[in-house]
Amino acid sequence: MKYARIEVRDRKGIFDAVAGGLKKDIRDLGVKGVKDIEYIRVYSVRGDFSGRDLRRIAEDILTDRVSQECGYPGGFGTRSSKNAHVVEVAYNAGVMDPVEESVIKAVKDSGLTGVNSVTTSKRYVIKGALSAGQIDKITDRLLYNRVIQHIVTRREDEKAAAPYRFRRREIDLISADDRILQGISAQRQLYLSLAEMKAVQKHFKKLGRNPTDCEIETLAQTWSEHCKHKTMMGAVRYNGRKIGNLLKETVMKATRELDRPWCVSVFKDNAGIIRFDPGHDICFKVETHNHPSALEPYGGAETGIGGVIRDTMGTGRGARPIINTDVFCFGVPDMPLSSVPKGALHPKRVLKGVVSGVRDYGNKMGIPTVNGAVCFDGRYTGNPLVFCGNVGILPRRFSTKKVSPGDLIVAVGGRTGRDGIHGATFSSAELTVESEAVSGTAVQIGNPITEKKVVDTLLKARDLGLYAAITDCGAGGFSSAVGEMGKDTGAEVHLEKAPLKYRGLEPWEIWVSEAQERMVLAVKRKDLKRLMNVFRSENVEATVIGKFTNTGKLRIYFRRHLIADLDMSFMHEGLPRVTRKAVWKRGKEDKSILPPKRADLTPDLLNLLSSWNVCSKEWIIRQYDHEVQGGSVLKPLVGVNNDGPSDASVTRPLFDSNKGIALANGINPCYGDIDPYWMAAGAIDEALRQIVAVGGTVENIALLDNFCWGNTENPDQLGGLVRASLACYDMAKVYRTPFISGKDSLNNEFNTGTKTVSIPPTLLISAIGVIDDVRRTISPDVKGPGSLIYVVGRTFQEMGGSQYFRVKRKKGGMVPRVRPHGSLRLMKKVASAIKAGLVASAHDCSEGGIAVCLAEMLFAGGYGAEVSLERVPRERSIDRDDVLLFSESNSRFVIEVPAEKQKAFEGAMKGVPSGRIGRVSEGRGLVIRGLGGGNVVKTDCGTLRNRWKKPFERLMHEQS
């Protein structure tokens, strides 16, 4: 077999954007002295090929001869020298490299058959007088991540995989004492508690045998916090009150009691399903991928979004994914490098990696990302949060599924490898300095094109009625997918049939691997041939790996050896129930705490606009395709220059209909530190406000929850979680907005070796609403001079957790309450006014209060305003301008009304607090007069806009 190395680089005179970006990052690291960087793509080709073949591969396929040049068969031969340092980065064995498959295809298409394998690597030549220490710093911080990559030190020959020899392995559990049980759990990374290990032991004692490795791994996956939601679905003793099942008695109870007719499937399928129009349903799911993103931001985020897309693909009998939404919580992105704890990545690197991962996967799948949010707090540094969501649409007749005994189990899509082993169990572990070494296999790289091929063919097969049920391979891989689908029937699987990426996997590894882009179908035997043809026609791999039975048992075979024989009932019901203790002690909220009084609040407003939680996220948003599929009719960036912030997004999913989908997220971790109850209530109110602000109605909004908490073994942490859950129930009941799906991620903390840092309790509420006619929706940018500005909703002295306090480094204060009955009444009135065409623009008032809300509307629209705080509806005791401007009381909107609609609008607002505070002016100046009559803010919308855009421009060294 021959080996050749083909290297490709940009020609001289062509601007190398990869190298350009890298230079900026190196400057950020504080490394000086880099003169130039050369970026080289390396392809290592193996097989039987002639010199002529190689020339065609190198020059016609791998090189763009207009802008690039290539060197082969030995590359350019660049070596490290005093002032040129060569670093080459390659993927670790077993990590997916999508490029290899594409290159092999191209080679074959060109009629060259002798190439057996292609591997890729990246080579950087860093020029300048740099020390070894500086090169190491650049390499470690920027060029590679040891979780998935390594530095190439010499030519790598293909390691011949040792032939695999099967041996049935049992784990000696029956004779184990407590210490050994715990040892087994730890050593195998099962993350099962002692009580759980004992339940397994007891079960097998009764059977009179030991479990196999495959059985114990299956139980660990099935019983993981990730799959089973042991805490949320568990019993809690909360301040003396007994709650049997936290989720069922709060979030799900609201849904059950509300019993809305348009809820099609709730808390049952991979995503919640609601009615869209007479012919279609839509489904929505949001989940997190926090721990993998902490270790490998790009791969973690990629597989996060890839996974949630598969959730909707696996809902009912399969939905078409149409909208992505992403919400992130990061450490402060400009924190000094020296303050980043060991074992954690710098927040800016996490941010860039996560954004690229979500971008690449979502864009390549062709799904618009139209909505999102980003929160910053130092406590997310070691444990960032990455929420990924997806909406799918499906014809109503496909909203159900049914598995019957005799149905074949068909695995579709990507092959199985050792990647993603123990993802489900790892997600429940605390992150530590060592996590990257211990749990590296839990992290993977995705291949969006594989998933796109799967969805294309799957929808064809669905429409032809060729399968009866479907689910995705997510956490726990086949183990969870088949285990779930066969729960009520039984299943028999022959693992040697599963297509593998490479040899050498233990059967249990095949069974629990979370390799990406795989779906599992239940197929009637008579449909198999046609089904296989559909997949084959577009080069998608599909394989029968077993069948569903009527035994009530999960039986797994490997080359005819029975390696697992588990009762479905024990798998799904055998988990011992524990009652956890939860405590909540109400802290004292001192309403009167305020920063010193200042006459001119202009600097405060400008600082707020430039604070990380408020500032423009355009740098992120622009990297997502918001337009693909052609459905985006209210975009994430709005206004005269398409750069202002929006509230909910609006999508028109069907070309021949004006019905739409509004999507919004409510999140504010700053409130959770004071009281998670009001954080949860506020997040719900915020998500609803955003949809109302664009022209939706509360009447047909469904909610999703995503709880991210610290260690809930700690009664205080669990107490907070209970409070947030109770708020979900209370609010949903009043607003009549059912929860249709949700997720929780616990144990979000980072152990630095000396202390444990918990994330702030964080609840993301995602809201989805059906819009009757997108042509009646509005955007938040002000439309024209002369129109009137109103504040609707009452302002209270609720400064606790506000961005104003954060900027002022002030602690304490009262957290914003939600008064849901009044809020509902108000939102209904605002919605009707918008529907009646009385409103030119409206914006949800949240972080930064009225001041930020108004500023955003103005600079988005490109006009100034003259405003007085005198008529802002407010709690009577408020006597300070900063409170009126910056308090973050819930249930408020700033609304622009055309002058000729004044009477009608004021009539429509009868019965709710509303005040006309001023008007949009012809010029660009903004003047706000305070309660005393003097100016408290005087600036112009250009300055407001610049200050709002500045932080990311500076962070990324860019000017727009």
Partner: protein, 264 residues
């Protein structure tokens, strides 16, 4: 001829196929979504169509370079059929990834084809180094020979969404020939006129080139997405105008032109 038939060619990673089909249907054509494997099995089927559209997406992940692997596949598998298709006077449009494919096949721009020059240009990584989605103004040069843009207003408003859209001609001779032949169809521009700079020119394209046609004017390739702006509610600022303007839904006109020309 009554019905104009359009083939929307798909493969792994194509993702703008449905909205492109919709645009052609809205323009009065029939549109079939056909996977490359199907066409390669029945190559003669191409001749049944009047228009070939290669839509946007990330074919084969844009691995190696955007559009490259798909271009290679088409060159290897459909060369004759495509020559025949063009010899019949039929139309081709490549949008975004489709444009990249046409350029990397050597079908565009073809300015000095007679002199034996094959690959005359490329579309490479944006100067910003990353994918960007934004709305841009395109202006038509004074004179072009493209059949797809006849009668369009001087400026149109459409979104771009790509990472590799920087148009680079092979050399000054190619650029000169493009200008002389009237093959430059769209340039990134400021609405008020004048050189756009970044981000008006979102990728750093040489001479602000956003779209080109071949010397016959029948093959059009462009980075922006007219199929994403065929109705007014897709315009980012339709709410700021009191009424529908000519600017809104302008992308449809390009498809209508193609269909009209194909109808003869």
């Amino acid at each position: 001829m009554n019905k104009v038939k359009t083939i929307i060619l798909r493969t792994a990673g194509t993702n703008c196929d449905r909205e492109t089909a919709y645009a052609f249907r809205a323009a009065g054509a029939e549109a079939d979504l056909v996977h490359i494997n199907t066409l390669l099995k029945q190559k003669a089927a191409l001749a049944e169509y009047h228009i070939l559209a290669i839509p946007g997406g990330f074919t084969y992940g844009d691995d190696v370079a955007s559009g490259k692997v798909f271009a290679n596949e088409l060159k290897a598998g459909l060369k004759e059929q495509l020559s025949g298709f063009l010899a019949e006077g039929r139309l081709i449009i490549g949008i975004c990834n489709g444009f990249q494919v046409l350029v990397k096949m050597g079908l565009l721009p073809g300015a000095k084809k007679r002199q034996g020059c094959k690959i005359e240009a490329t579309l490479s990584l944006n100067d910003s180094g990353r994918f960007e989605d934004r709305w841009v103004y395109l202006k038509r040069p004074g004179r072009d020979i493209c059949v797809w843009t006849r009668g369009l207003p001087e400026a149109i408003y459409v979104p771009v969404a790509h990472a590799e859209g920087k148009f680079i001609p092979k050399d000054a001779g190619v650029l000169e020939a493009l200008r002389k032949n009237g093959q430059i169809v769209f340039r990134y521009a400021r609405k008020e006129g004048g050189s756009p700079g970044y981000p008006g020119n979102p990728n750093g394209s040489v001479d602000d080139i956003a779209g080109v046609c071949d010397p016959t004017g029948r093959i059009l390739g462009l980075m922006p997405h007219p199929e994403r702006h065929v109705t007014y509610v897709q315009h980012p600022n339709w709410r700021r105008f009191g009424r529908k303007t000519e600017e809104m839904g302008i992308g449809l006109r390009i498809f209508e032109n193609g269909v009209k020309f194909a109808r003869g």
